[in-house]
Every structure is written in C-alpha cells, then in structure tokens.
C-alpha cells in the first residue's frame, strides 16, 4: 500500500501525462478510450466491488450521461463543458430513483432487474421517445471542447480532459475509502444483517452507491461524447454492462486491478487487430481461467486501510 502510494501512483501520473506526446493519433485515441473506460469501470466498482451489489446495467447510467451531453449540445447549443453538471447530476438522480425500490432485492434478482433497466433504456433510445434521442442512429455532429471561447479541437486536449477526469475520480475513490460512507459500503457487502445490527441504514448506503456510481460514469461519457462527436444506442447495450461487470470482477475490485481489466479488454485488442474476430472467444476463456485460478480477481482489493498508529508490533499485521 505504501509502495503504491509513494512510488507507483506518482509514476503512473507522470507516465500518463507524457504518454500522448509519444503516441501517434491512432494510439492517442486508444489511450483516451482507456482513460474514459477506466473511469466507467471504477464507477461500476463502487456499486459492484465495494458495495457488492450485482449491478449489470451500468451502461444505462453512462449512456444517459452521454445522451444528456449530446442533446444539450446538439439541440440546445450548450457548450460541452457546460453540460457536465447535468451529465453528472441527472444520471445520479436517476440512479437514486431507480435503485430506491430495488436495492432490497437479493443478488441475482438485482442483477436481472438492472439488466432490465438497461434493455428498457436502449429500447427507449431506439424508438426515439420524445423525438430527442435520434432513434437507432443516435445523435452526431457534436461540438468539440471549448474553454473561454477558445476551441480545443486537438485530440491532445481531449486526452488531458479525460486524464483530469480520471484523476478526479481516483481522488473521490480515495476519499470514499477513508470515510464513514465508504466503510458502510464494505460492511454491507460483507454482512448486511451485521451491518444493520451495528446501526447502519444499509438501504440509504446502497442507494448512495448507485447514485455515486451513476454520477461518475455520467461524467466519464461527457468525454466519450466529445471524442466521437456522436452517441448512438448500440454503445450502451447491456452487453457493454456485462463487459464492465466482468472487468471489475476479473480485475479484482482494486484500482490497479480494475484498470488492468480495462487495459486487457480495450487496449490489447487494438494491439492484435488481425485477430479481431477471435477477441471475445479468447476473452471468454480468459475470464473462465482467471476465475478458476484467482476467484477473487487478478489483483484483489486489500483491506486493513487503518491509521498507522493503531498497528502495534506488526507480527500479526496484514
């Protein structure tokens, strides 16, 4: 943990900061995708990894963020950056409203209901409800980033925007770990009845996890909409939720693990493009193998994040 905080993390920040200057445009685009999907996967980790709720509908929430940005920009002419607050708040609010009546459902039932939400959402988009979603083709022709009137059209600008969003997310995740709310999520995942019996209103915290996860993923896809200048329903099909679900569990619900999962799922296929058709076939086997060899994920979450002054001797320490 200390090594991670002192060496690995600063190193990661430095590498990621200079990386885009070394890449050609194609790989810059891949790197942006990596950053965005890392944020989405981390948002899924809050719900699935930390709170242990089987959410298989995360694509609903980030799809919603993307569409809010797209609609506000394309139909109402808002600058992209100005859409961010709503792209965070509306999915968060929606997450809270949807989660409210369902969080008491047990594991697999919750999973099915979240799949259901995702499928209903995509069908709403495809049927162009209210005439604002653009139907099966989606919305294209969004503006590029602009700040104080200056257009930031370059891919580099999008990259640093995405990078800033990732750093912000990592900061929030760290705050969460060191707070009452974050611990409450862990307690309810480990043993819900024990958590209730020690005074935790588990329902509130489950809804909180859904809201926070939805808000963060909404932020992530503002960048996504900017990069592609378009949104369309098939990017938010529930199969996409399945991918993020798997990434978190195969990675192991730790920040390095989740980002490793994103790397394997979205960057590695770009390296082996000639094997594109084999991609999911190989992933499927990799998922089975990973779970057999490491049932708690490749890089499992570590616990015991307690203040140093509590640790004595250390012979029994984790």
């Amino acid at each position: 943990m200390n090594n991670y905080q002192r060496i690995v993390f600063p190193l990661f920040v430095v590498v990621m900061a200079v990386l885009p200057t070394l890449l050609n445009p194609r790989w810059q685009a891949v790197a942006i995708t990596f950053l965005i999907f890392s944020v989405v996967a981390l948002s899924q980790d809050i719900v699935l990894g930390k709170a242990g709720m089987f959410n298989m509908g995360q694509a609903l929430f980030f799809g919603m963020g993307a569409y809010i940005t797209a609609i506000l920009n394309y139909k109402f002419g808002w600058p992209i950056l100005a859409t961010i607050p709503l792209a965070i708040l509306l999915p968060a609010l929606f997450g809270i409203i949807l989660a409210g009546p369902i969080v008491h459902l047990r594991g697999d039932y919750l999973l099915v209901v979240t799949i259901g939400f995702n499928i209903v959402f995509v069908q709403v988009l495809q049927n162009n409800l209210g005439g604002v979603t653009g139907g099966p083709n989606g919305i294209f022709g969004l503006d590029s980033l602009s700040l104080f009137g200056a257009k930031l059209t370059s891919q580099l600008a999008v990259y640093y925007f995405a990078f800033a969003v990732l750093l912000l997310t990592l900061w929030v995740m760290r705050n969460l770990e060191k707070s009452k709310a974050g611990r409450a999520l862990h307690y309810l995942r480990e043993d819900q009845l024990a958590a209730e019996s020690i005074g935790i209103n588990t329902r509130i915290y489950k809804v909180f996890a859904f809201g926070l996860g939805a808000g963060i993923s909404g932020l992530a896809v503002t960048v996504y909409a900017t990069q592609y200048a378009a949104v369309s329903p098939e990017a938010f099909e529930f199969i996409v939720s399945v991918l993020f679900f798997s990434i978190v569990l195969v990675g192991g619900s730790s920040i390095p693990g989740v980002m490793l999962g994103v790397f394997v799922m979205f960057v590695v296929p770009e390296i082996f493009r000639e094997f594109a058709t084999w991609r999911y076939f190989v992933f499927g086997f990799a998922m089975i193998l990973a779970m057999i060899l490491r049932p708690r994920g490749i890089w499992p979450a570590t616990f015991g994040k307690i203040p140093k002054y509590l640790i004595k001797g250390g012979s029994h320490g984790a």
Binding site: D108, F245, L249, F281, F283, G284, M287, I292, P295
Partner: protein, 298 residues
Amino acid sequence: MDIFLQQLANGLTIGSMFALVALGYTMVYGVMKLINFAHGDMVAASAFVGLTVYTQVMGQATSLAAVVVIFLLTAAIMACVGIVLERVAYRPLREAPRLSAVVSALGASLVIQNGIMLIWGPRMKIFPELVPQVYWDLGGVVISLIQVLILGLSLVLMVGLYLFVEKTRMGAAVRASSIDQDAARLMGINVNSIIALIFIIGSSLGAIGGLFIGLYYRGITFNMGWQYGLYAFIAAILGGIGNIPGAMLGGMLLGLFNAFIAGYVSSTWADAFTFILLIVILIVRPTGLLGERVAEKV
C-alpha cells in the same frame, strides 16, 4: 377477437419454446444457485448444430425418420457439450465466491457465442424447412403445422420431465439436491452425477428449443442466444427460479404477454414491456409466482 385468438396461438407457441429453454436455467439454478449465462448460447448453438446435422449427416433428407434423427442427434451432441461446459467452467468454481461463478458463466457464454461465429460465420443462416408448410385457417385464425408440433412436443416433454422429477427416485434426488446439497450428499446422493444429469436434461431440452426457434423463425444468428436466453431466463424468474412447474408456467405466460404486446401495442416496444413486467413482479413478489419465501436464519 381474431387478433386475440391469433395472438393466443402465437403466444402459446413462443411460450412453449421459452418454457423449454427456461427449464435449463431453472434446474441449474435450483441445484447450483448459479445463473447459467451460457445456456442461451447453447440454445443458439443447437440450431446451428441441427443445421449441420441436416446438411452433412442426413444429406438434406426431410422424411419423418430423418427429422427425428436430427432432433435426437442434436440433443445428444448438446448434452455432451453441456457436460463439458459444467466440467470446465463450473465444477472448479463450486466452492468459490458466487460472483466468480457468474463471471465464469459469462465467459463461457462469450466462448460459445463466438465459437459459433468462428465456425458458422457472422452472417445469418437460414434453417432448413424440416416440417412441411401446412396451414389451417380456422375462421380467420391461421395455425401452422409447425406451431402444433412445437406446442404438442413441448407439452409432452414438460409433462415427461415433471413426472420424472416428481415420481422417480432419481427425480427425488434432484429435488433433494436443490433443497440442500450438503444434506443430499450425506444421504448418499452423488451430487456430482445429479449436476451432470441436470446439465444433460437442461441442454437437451434447450437443444430442442433451439431447433424449434430455427423451425419457427427460420433465420438464425450466432448472437441470438442472448435474446432468447434472456427471455427464457425471465420466464424462469417469473415462475420462481429453481421451480420446475414455475418455469413452464412462466414461459407460457411470457410468450402470451409478448404476443399480445406485439398484437395490440407494437413489437418495437416488446422488450421494454417485458422487462417492465418483470421488474414490477420482482418488486411486488421477489420470489416469482410459484417460488417460496426463504427466511434467513440468524
């Protein structure tokens, strides 16, 4: 009224396909407490296997005997695949955390789905016309021979399964294993062979379901497993997952619901309505129609 009767006939047909596939989900869930996400893809695979058996083994024969052989051979092949699936993807994870097995099941689903794509290609295939196109017009309601066949054969299989589970010693062992695996093991039941058995039964019923899907819809694609699998899975949950008569009831109800939505509202909203129905039922009665409430022991 015509629309009503027509959609009733259509609903019962698709409902019986859902029910056949749902049985595979519900039996596996009953004993292993695992959503076998690969089951839908197994169903899709069986349509393709059936196609290959028809062209390569049977020399495109469509006599009654040939059709029977195609069905039996496909079911047998899929039963073997089911056993391999359980051995490779599920048995090593029996003691692992629940979510690990779920991920493994998703992995198996991707392997099978993309395996179909690699073998048979990504484009839609047309399933052969194994059953003659015979239609009866019953005063405005058109019923085809295929529909009668699907409904009749499904009912026979379901009644057979029900009798097997309720009336035989082996069936009792299956029921015992789904109530309490450990207790069943202590009573001398070989739970490993029970699990193998339910994969054989589930996969072969799913295979018949897959062939029906091919016969009824004609167009088959490598990724159709998710679509049909999801519907069948919802059927299993509607009936109360783990409950065999529940899966049959859930399948039929879901088929009817879908047909009426398509007939009276719009087929472009069928998925949305189906899931809204499911969500409402799970919120109101989380254990499904025939499922029992289980109290947690403290």
